[in-house]
Amino acid sequence: MAFARTLVVGLTLIATAASAESLLGGKSSALGKGADLLAVDQAFQLQGATRRGHEIALDWSIAPGYYLYRHSLKVSVDAPAKAPFTGPELPKGVAMNDAEFGNVEIYRGSLQAKLTLPADAAAPRTLRVKYQGCADIGVCYPPQTRLVAVK
C-alpha cells in the first residue's frame, strides 16, 4: 500500500510539473473564447544592454511558444544623439515560411544582438530598441519600442 501511495504522489507531482510547463509555455492554450497568453513583456523579456569594451550586447529571453521576427528588430541611439555604432549583428534565426510574408527568420528561446562601437567616439548611453513577435497559437503582438540604458 505504501508503495502504491508513493507512486500516486509521484505521478501527481509529475502531472503538476507538466501542467505548470504548459501554463507557462502557453502551448496548450486554446484560442477563441478566452485564451491565457503572456503579456508582451513576459513573452519577450528584454533583459538589458551591457557594454563590454567596444561592444554592446542586447539580450532577450523568449518564452516557450513565442517567437521574435528577425526583420522587425531595429536598434538606434537615443542618447547621446548621433553616437556611432555598427550593427546590430544578429545570429542566424530559424527559417519560417509564411504564405503572406514569404521566407522570414525567427528567434526562439534566447537572442543576443551585438553592436560594435568605434574606438574613439562617445558610447551610447541609451538605446531605442524595436522588436515584434507572435505566439505559436496564432496571435501577434504589436511592435514594441523600449528605451534601454546601457550598463
Binding site: A2, F3, T6, L7, V9, G10, L11, L13, I14, A17, A18, A20, E21, L23, L24, G25, G26, L31, G32, K33, G34, A35, D36, L37, L38, A39, V40, Q42, Q45, S61, I62, A63, P64, S72, D98, A99, E100, F101, G109, Q132, C134, A135, I137, G138, V139, C140, Y141, P142, P143
Partner: protein
C-alpha cells in the same frame, strides 16, 4: 517480501519519483523566463464584454473621415482588429471579404480596425481588394481593444455587435469561413 526488501523498494520508488519530478521541473526552468505572479492571467475577458453595450469608437477610416459605430445603424457589425504586420490577420482577410459579400443582405457589415500606419493599410486594402472599410489608429486602437476585453493587445481580434449595440461575441485569433458561417447562422436572421 521481507520488511527490509519492501523498505528498499519504497526508497527506490521515492528516489525515482523525486528524480522524475526534478527532471520535469529542470526541463523547463532554464528556458522559462521568470514570470511575474499574475502575469499569466485571463487577459481576454469575453465574459466581461459579451452581453454588454459596445464601447464608443471614434477613429479615422481609410479615407481619413472620422467614423463611429453609429455610422452603420441597423447592422450586425463584425469588427475585426488587424494589422499589416500580423500574419494571422493577413490569412483571415479572404474569409472576411467573403463574409461581407455573402451576408451583407442579411444585415452584416464587416468593419476593420487597423493598429497600423495609414499608408500601409491603404496599400494593403487596395492589394487585397477589400469590400469593407477599415478604421485606422495606433495606441488609440489598443485602448479600444482593451474596452472590448482584449487587455493584452494581441491580434487578430474579432467582435460581433448586434444592431442594438450589444456585443454578442468576441474571438481572439484568426477566423475562417467555417467559423464565420457558424457565427452568422447562430446570430443573424438568415
Amino acid at each position: 517480501m521481507s520488511g527490509f526488501s519492501r523498505q528498499a523498494v519504497l526508497v527506490a520508488a521515492i528516489a525515482f519519483t523525486a528524480g522524475a519530478a526534478g527532471f520535469w521541473v529542470a526541463r523547463w526552468m532554464p528556458q522559462t523566463p521568470t514570470v511575474a505572479e499574475g502575469a499569466v492571467a485571463r487577459l481576454l475577458e469575453p465574459e466581461r464584454i459579451e452581453g454588454q453595450a459596445a464601447a464608443a469608437v471614434s477613429l479615422p477610416d481609410n479615407e481619413g473621415k472620422i467614423r463611429t459605430l453609429k455610422d452603420w445603424p441597423g447592422k450586425w457589425l463584425l469588427v475585426n482588429f488587424w494589422a499589416t504586420w500580423c500574419a494571422p490577420c493577413m490569412h483571415e482577410i479572404p474569409a472576411l471579404i467573403d463574409a461581407q459579400a455573402r451576408y451583407e443582405k442579411a444585415g452584416l457589415q464587416v468593419l476593420g480596425i487597423a493598429m497600423d500606419d495609414p499608408e500601409a493599410v491603404r496599400a494593403l486594402m487596395k492589394e487585397k481588394a477589400f469590400n469593407y472599410p477599415s478604421l485606422i489608429g495606433d495606441e488609440q486602437v489598443q485602448l479600444v481593444m482593451e474596452q472590448f476585453g482584449n487587455t493584452i493587445g494581441a491580434l487578430p481580434y474579432t467582435v460581433l455587435i448586434a444592431p442594438d449595440g450589444v456585443v454578442r461575441y468576441v474571438e481572439l485569433g484568426g477566423v475562417d469561413t467555417a467559423k464565420l458561417d457558424n457565427l452568422m447562422q447562430r446570430f443573424l436572421p438568415l
